[in-house]
Amino acid sequence: MKRPASIRKRLFYQLAAVAAVLSLAFVLVVRGVASRAAEGTQDDILAASATAIADSLTSEQGEVTLELPYSALSMLGTINEDRVFYRITVNDGTLTGYADLPANNLPTRLDTPVFSTEVYRGDEVRLTSILRRVSNTAAGSQVVVTVAQTRSGLAAISRRITITATGVGLLFFLLATTLSLLAANSALRPLNRMTGTVARRGPSDLRPVTGEAPTELTPLVDALNSFMARLRSSLSRTEDLITEAAHRVRTPLATVRTQAEVTHRKLNKPEHKQAIRDMIRAIDESSRSAGQILDHAMVTFRADSLALDPLDLATLVTETCDRLSPTAELKDIALLMEQPDGPVPFKGDGIMLQAALHNILDNAIKYSPEDSDISVRIEINSVLRLSVTDQGRGFGDMDLAGLTSRYSRGANVGDVVGSGLGLTIADEVARAHGGQLELSHSEEGQGACVSLILPYN
């Protein structure tokens, strides 16, 4: 059997089944009790009738005789219109009445009515018999008074009770089923509430679930919390590893580069110098690629748990430009900053934004010709636009949207080494902040314009 997938359904079906069983039990019990009560009433009246007849037994000149009381039979007609039969036997001979009335269950004790149910003249009848001793002779006579009544009135009462009980039982069942539905919903409300709380969380909200949980859910909440704690520590280990890896790769590369430069200065042969220059370029590229891969990993990781720290974008831009200005100066490139006076407050992940801007600027410097300008601009209208415009070769007439995918590079950059990760990083940072990366041609017609468009709040 397939188990119902929903707790609510299972709960409901089980409660409904219980209600059905209870309703059925109710109907049977009520019917049984009421039928017995009705039967008891009939038995009582039959016994009263038989007793009244027995009381009117007398002896006359040595013979048992009877003055049948009118009320003895008329009382049987008061509650229903059932047929009535009777018989009086004296020492096993019928004195009067219906001689063929069944006599299977005869009383053995004086004045104690016995009851039985028989079929007589095509109908089920209830019989009661009572034993009397009449002292008509010295020995006395054993007189049995039997009164019988058909049970169609009883059957009608029983039918009526059954219908009523069934109706009530059905109502009870419907009511109970409705209530079980409500109960199932109500019982699951804490679970739903908790589900809602957890579902509403950001993808990287790994704080423990607090709030009141029903006792039954406490182990689940505890397990969830412990799971999240493990996840959190695992994530923080990953972050540490990334930082560590970045550090471990970059630092030796920097050392190698320094050594290579020193060696370059010491060498005289042009072919050796060229070899070292190639080496330095390769080291630079490696360092840059490693940086970008780490940046990308870092951005991906941080995007999952975006920190929304208040920061000043103007400062961030200035710092980033300052850090890159030595590289720019090597190619006589001027970094021109255009930004509003005063701080530009923004809520976001400073490290990610810095990485994005760093990569955009780095790209711009890489593809800019010597002795050119790169402008970094912050514009605020409905959104915040942080754009970097260079005077380089631009994007040509290629598909701008494809450029932001990972490891994709422009068609016109074959001569420049690069990993193709720079714009991907910028794009992911923009998306993580709910914004987008816009690539366009610069207004002067030559060069590229890369803009981080962020929602400004």
């Binding site: 003055e67 049948l68 009118y70 049987l76 007609g77 008061t78 009535v84 004195l95 009445g97």
Partner: protein, 348 residues
Amino acid sequence: MRVTHFTLQLIAAMSLWVGAAQAFEIEDRQVYTASPETSVLHIISTADRAVFEPILLAFQADNPGISIDYTITGTTDLMKAIYEEDAVFDLAISSAMDLQTKLANDGYAQSYIPQSAPELPDWAIWRDQLFAFTQEPAVMVVSDKYFDKGTAPQTRDALIELLRQNPEKFRGRVGTYDVRRSGFGYLMATQDSRTSETYWRLMEVMGRLDAQLYCCSGDMISDVASGKLAMAYNVLGSYAASVVAATEGVQIVELTDFMNVMLRTVLIPSSAENVPDARAMVDFLTSLRRYPELVEASGLPPLDTAALQDNPALRPIRFGPGLLVFLDQLKEEKFLRSWENSILQELP
């Protein structure tokens, strides 16, 4: 001798033995042929033809095609015919409520719910087998020769007093039913005895006055009309009324202490062959009240709950197993013995 349960059995056994087809006594028989005839309704009844003919003809007018075979017999013979001799009739109409009750109780009637059932009072139907369609009080009929208008006694006590004080005047001039021969008389006598002890005193007084005993209301009333009787006690009111309307010199006295009201009943015997027509007739009879001209013509007073409520002296006999009591062999023997002791006295 009124036929008892046991003698009935004896008669049945004998008739079986002799092989006689019908041992019950037929007083009269009339066939009302319909043309074209589609079915025949066999009715056994205790009601005189004069009384019932208008009803039968009206029924035929309403239900063309039904021929009616109307057999008239006494109340005990009717009982005997159905109870003992398995005579086949589609309908049994009788004024003896007790015998009809016994037929229904012992399983000789079949159930039917008449169309008019919702309008009928509860006491008019028993077991959906016995249907009352008239209510007829037992009245006293007195002769104008003996009583000027309004001078007849109004209660049984007054009657007893009058008879006691004028024995010579009324000797041999008082009539009542021979309860040994008339089922209706027996029913009225037993109900009287249940209702009041004055019944036995009255019988005692009437016995001393050499009461004349009759089998039927008709003879009794005509003897009162002719002046042979001064009074007749316990006469069927409906007959009395029809005779009084047609005859001079008779008054009806409705006693004010109590009047037992007999319900004329119809039942469909379990052996009925033409049940649909029998049911149609039951429907017709139980809605008799809707045909005033028939009530007028037959003189049968229809059921009228209001009349019973207006006159507290009217005591309708109730259906129920109580009616079986006086049909009990011992009870009947004792009652008849008491009755004979009271009414059949050696004249001094």
